[in-house]
Amino acid sequence: MDYETPRFLDCGEAALSVEFGDSVTPAVNARVLALDERLRAAPPAGLRETTPTYRALFLRYEPLEISRAALIAAIEALIGTAGVEASQPAVRWTIPCCYDPEFAEDIGEAAALLGQTAQSLARLHAGADYRAYMYGFAPGWCYLGGLPQALAIPRRVSPRGPTPPGAALIGGALSLIAANPMPTGWYVVGRTPERMFALDRSPPFLVAPGDAVRFEPIDANTFLALDARACAGETVARRERLL
């Protein structure tokens, strides 16, 4: 559900959650990101940090510098009477992704569960327009909205072993690019040679919350060639400015 006006929820005395809805939808997330943008452009005194998530903007603030009431008033002024309009992605990333079973170890299992073939799953996954909703779990773990309905898949009851870095995963109604090996209940349906998070690169994080993302299918040989370039520090995903 998308709320008409946001709910302001205390997270202790020094943080506030501004909640725009209770579900994962592009419209709710766009309102979160639009408020985030406005607050970052003109942060009220005492605001320390904002963290956009699917349906809420988390604000850390110093209550000895700004009261909760003053912070809420500042947010309401930024939202305005018309509410926050959906923010448009400013940047689109095209991320190479290999769906070859050698690099997508769960694609057969996920396809069987979804009544698809590995080929149709790959085609649907690479054909969609995604948006970076939020990061979570660990540095560089970027959750993507926009997974086609036909690929919505319940998460495993117990997690599978560590995923390789760069794994493209599906779980629930979302897709996700893993930044580092980690056990997960999601399904590995592809793998990108691009690094979502690399300390030796500036900026270290590839995608910003709100960016548009597409996957471009590549074969195994292309994967290996791009992987070597990515390991040498090159960004192999393509970046386009949309606005």
Partner: protein, 332 residues
């Protein structure tokens, strides 16, 4: 020659911490930072340090190399010994070359901070020297044989001094919290049960979360929420009803309802509880939480007082004295 701090022994979970890696939670980066900010600030301000070693119940042994180092210790009631001589649990001392400082778990408290005057020669990672072991950011946890180089060592006091600060005194008063952000996921009687219960810190508690053992808290609207941001001190109730208090190494976002959040002024007190120890909670409103925060930080800003360590002040000599045999007039 540059000065070095040599680690002779280190228990598990001995890490470098500064105030934390803030500003990158939008990229999934945990701030980390000290479990007990007040104790961290007491140690770092006394020594003139920009970071500290956070010592867990496993303890640590260290020596100075190349110079006499200025070392401050503050935190729980750890057993601190300088070349065998007992020191107060909060102290500022000269660590002469070759002298041995031993920190062991003492009467109470779970963490203490060892700050060395000067600048530890660690390059910051993403703007901070804080260790977050789970994501591999910052220096790895310390181990026996490690040597930490000080880029610039600060001058040390001539004699050990005791540090006294009101906020370092532990108290059994209930830990205060503000209800929410998802208190509405729980029926009023479940919130009552949560507030009236006597909780115990579970054995599998660490820098990421403290497990609370007590009655199971039931959700009325399911245990799955759409993930949102998480503050340090948030009390998350997962599906099994056993609360988790999220601490310094929490993930920046979480998917379980949070019944309440511990207030800033009491986070250090919660952090200093050991597995097996009891606690209770008391709900306060935003204004009371802010008043407590103001008082807490004002008292930290006022600083710890330094007192010379007379021979009569050591634990050994106190234990040797007959303290109950005479009558003392407090006005003398």
């Amino acid at each position: 020659m540059s000065a070095r701090l040599l680690i002779g022994a280190a228990g598990p979970g001995v890490t470098i911490q500064d105030e934390g890696r803030f500003g990158l939670s939008r990229y999934g980066v945990t701030p980390a930072g000290p479990m007990d900010l007040g104790a961290y600030l007491a140690a770092t301000r006394a020594a003139g340090a920009d970071s500290a070693i956070e010592v867990s119940l496993g303890g640590m042994t260290l020596r100075a190399d190349g110079a006499t180092l200025c070392v401050a210790v503050a935190g729980g009631e750890f057993d601190i010994r300088l070349d065998g001589r007992p020191m107060p649990s909060a102290c500022l001392l000269p660590l002469a070359e070759g002298a041995r400082l031993v920190l062991r778990a003492g009467a109470s408290g779970a963490w203490c901070y060892v700050a060395v005057g000067g600048t530890l020669a660690f390059a910051p990672t993403l703007g901070s020297r804080a260790t977050h072991a789970r994501s591999g950011l910052g220096p790895r946890p310390l181990a026996a044989g490690d040597a930490l180089t000080l880029a610039e060592a600060a001058g040390a006091p001539l004699e050990p001094l005791a540090l006294a600060a009101p906020w370092l005194t532990s108290s059994a008063a209930p830990i205060r919290l503000v209800l929410g952000p998802q208190a509405d996921y729980f029926a009023p009687e479940e919130i009552e049960a949560f507030l009236n219960a006597r909780w115990r810190i579970g054995a599998r508690s660490d820098r990421m979360a403290y497990r609370l053992e007590g009655p199971a808290i039931r959700h009325r609207r399911g245990h799955d929420i759409v993930s949102d941001g998480v503050a340090m001190g948030a009390i998350q109730i997962p599906g099994d009803g056993a609360p988790l208090a999220l601490m310094a190494d929490r993930q920046p976002t979480g998917g379980y309802p949070k019944i309440a959040t511990v207030i800033g002024a009491d986070l250090g007190r919660l952090a200093q509880l050991r597995p097996g120890e009891d606690l209770s909670f008391r709900a306060v409103d935003w204004d009371e939480a802010v008043a407590a925060r103001r008082a807490y930080f004002a008292s930290i800003d006022a600083g710890a007082t330094r007192e010379p360590l007379g021979a009569e002040m050591t634990t050994e000599s106190l234990l040797a004295e007959n303290l109950v045999g005479g009558v003392v007039n407090a006005r003398d």
